[in-house]
């Protein structure tokens, strides 16, 4: 399982009600159902990913997050999750507001664009970074709203999101440095928020 997904499980309570936005193939939701006995729904727009969720017997709903979460009632979930989807949204801040309306808490993970590799790529090549994690060219990428660890911190302050936990995780290298200088050495940021 992807490293950010592995970290998230520690923040999920047993038997809680979960909404997973951009749930992909449902790996995380299935894992949480099996290990934490949660119940909930996953939202996804990609047809093949939806099929994989159906194969796992998950409650998957085809829904574009940019359309909002108007079909979900206030505080109707314990935790609303969104992993590696923030950067694909047209209006990330509006979706975050919606997540905190629908959920008592929310967990968001996103690629930290302040990571030294991204900075190095831009500084030396003068071109938008293309990496293993973000393998797209700028013109055909689904990732349209990049931010850094620091940017997100500012957004939380501006919109009065309470940060319960924040963390950066790396797949391999830079395990020590990331804790000292998260915005420079953290690959993936994980935020645990409440109102």
């Amino acid at each position: 399982m992807r490293i950010d997904l592995n970290e998230i499980q520690h923040w999920i309570k047993q038997s809680s009600r979960i909404l997973d936005l951009g749930c992909g193939d449902g790996t995380l939701l299935k894992f949480l159902i099996d290990t934490k006995h949660v119940d909930g729904y996953g939202l996804e727009i990609d047809a093949e990913q939806i099929n994989l969720c159906i194969d796992k017997g998950l409650n998957v709903i085809e829904q574009n997050l940019d359309r909002g979460l108007g079909n979900f009632a206030d505080n109707s979930f314990d935790t609303v999750l969104m992993t590696q989807a923030l950067q694909t949204l047209h209006f990330p801040h509006k979706v975050l507001d919606e997540m905190l309306r629908v959920g008592k808490e929310c967990i968001v993970t996103f690629p930290n664009f302040g990571h030294w590799k991204a900075r190095y790529h831009l500084a030396t090549h003068g071109r938008m970074p293309v990496s293993d994690l973000l393998p797209y060219e700028w013109y055909d990428t689904p990732n349209i709203h990049f931010c850094t660890f620091k940017d997100f911190e500012v957004l939380c302050r501006e919109r009065n999101y309470k940060v319960i936990n924040r963390q950066v995780v790396n797949e391999a290298s830079g395990q020590l440095l990331k804790d000292v200088m998260p915005n420079l050495f953290g690959e993936t940021a994980i935020y645990h928020l409440s109102k």
Binding site: Y41, A47, I50, N51, C53, I54, D55, G57, L58, N59, V60, I61, E62, Q63, N71, F72, A73, S76
Partner: protein
């Protein structure tokens, strides 16, 4: 007409007629003392009778959903793309039951049947039916077939309404409910289309207050126009444009030519209408469109579909089609939202399609994938 039966066909099927002599109390307050239902079954009921699936048909449907009645049939049953060995409703795994609803005109008791009390056709005196009456009669059918719990109740359009009603009327008898291109209730525009179709029938001089059978005539023209109206709304603007465009069947616009011009779409619609009028009973059409109009899932639950769905024990699969404007994706969103509000299991897919409401009947790879994979998951339960 197949020379040999396709390997994924259920093959040659024979309908069976079942008689029911226990009176059925209807929503309108009247009672139907006895009636018959005609049905087809495909596949084998397993030993613990846990693999039965009920197919609920839409406005113009009937019991013949899959396979052929004989090798000389031009076409297979109406949902043959989805029912058969290896198909989404896999007859290697499921025992599929498909019936002609009460009030229909393909063998089950309806307005064109003889009223035993008068010895004449029921005609307009046949009791008005609601969706729940169909569900109750289908439950009797299940009893007779020895099926206590359906693995799934499945329906498109009006059939989806029956599937949802099943989940509320007999919560313990439905494990899964597949609601395809359907709605919690019809919109005003939808009722308007139905009323226009009904007026076409009623204003046919041969309608004779619905007693046309007694006078050995049929309101063919009116029923044909009704079907033409319906047919327009089942297709998408795009599909109609692609299939027919402004192509002419005859005549020309040449200067100096006075020849009558006929567009392909005109000819097509007239053919469809005329063909339908040969096969369908006008009183059945009136009865069924009214049942459609009257359906409102939440009505008796304080107009709250969430409160209604709280009664359900089934898990739900909901599917809609992008260009369906008769039962638009928004109607399915309303179903899904109510199910989420009621904290029910639901899977929802919105299939990209060019074919309008008719898409629910037509082969489509993604639709087949979603439907088939969902049902494959429940076959092993």
């Amino acid at each position: 007409m197949p020379d040999v039966l396709p390997p994924d066909s259920v093959g040659i099927v024979t309908p069976q007629t079942l008689h029911f002599s226990e009176p059925l109390l209807l929503a309108c307050g009247k009672t139907l003392n006895e009636y018959q239902l005609v049905c087809e079954t495909y596949g084998q009921l397993n030993a613990n009778k846990s693999n039965a699936v009920l197919i609920c048909h839409a406005l113009s449907g009937h019991h013949h959903a899959a396979g052929y009645h004989s090798m000389s049939d031009k076409r297979p049953g109406w949902w043959d793309s989805y029912i058969g060995p290896g198909k989404p409703i896999d007859t290697n795994k499921f025992f599929v039951v498909s019936l002609n609803n009460l009030g229909g005109c393909h063998g089950s008791t309806g307005p064109s049947s003889i009223n035993p009390e008068t010895g004449k056709p029921w005609g307009p005196d046949f009791p008005k039916l609601r969706v729940r009456d169909w569900v109750h009669s289908q439950a009797r059918l299940a009893d007779k077939l020895g099926i206590n719990v359906w693995a799934a109740v499945i329906g498109g359009s009006l059939g989806g309404m029956q599937a949802m009603r099943w989940a509320l009327e007999y919560p313990e008898r439905v494990r899964h409910c597949a609601v395809i291109a359907s709605a919690l209730k019809l919109s005003a525009q939808n009722i308007a289309f139905n009323e226009t179709a009904r007026q076409a029938i009623i204003s046919d001089p041969n309608f004779l207050d619905g007693r046309y059978q007694e006078h050995n005539t049929l309101p063919r023209h009116g029923l044909g126009v009704a079907r033409m109206i319906g047919h327009i709304t089942y297709l998408s603007d795009h599909d109609m444009g692609e299939k027919f465009g402004r192509d002419l069947r005859s005549g020309s616009f040449d200067i100096g030519s006075d020849e009558e011009v006929e567009f392909q779409i005109e000819s097509y619609l007239r053919y469809q209408g005329g063909n339908f009028a040969k096969q369908f009973d006008a009183n059945s059409y009136l009865l069924i469109t009214k049942a459609l109009d009257y359906f409102d899932l939440g009505r008796e639950y304080g107009d709250d579909p969430i409160a209604a769905f709280k009664l359900a024990q089934a898990k739900f699969l909901v599917i809609s089609f992008s260009t369906d404007w008769r039962f638009a994706p928004e109607r399915s969103h309303e179903i899904v939202s109510a199910l989420i509000g009621a904290n029910k299991s639901v899977t929802y897919a919105e299939i990209e399609s060019k074919s309008g409401h008719d898409a629910f009947l037509l082969p489509d790879e993604r639709y087949q994938q979603v439907f088939g994979r969902y049902l494959a998951g429940i076959a092993t339960e």
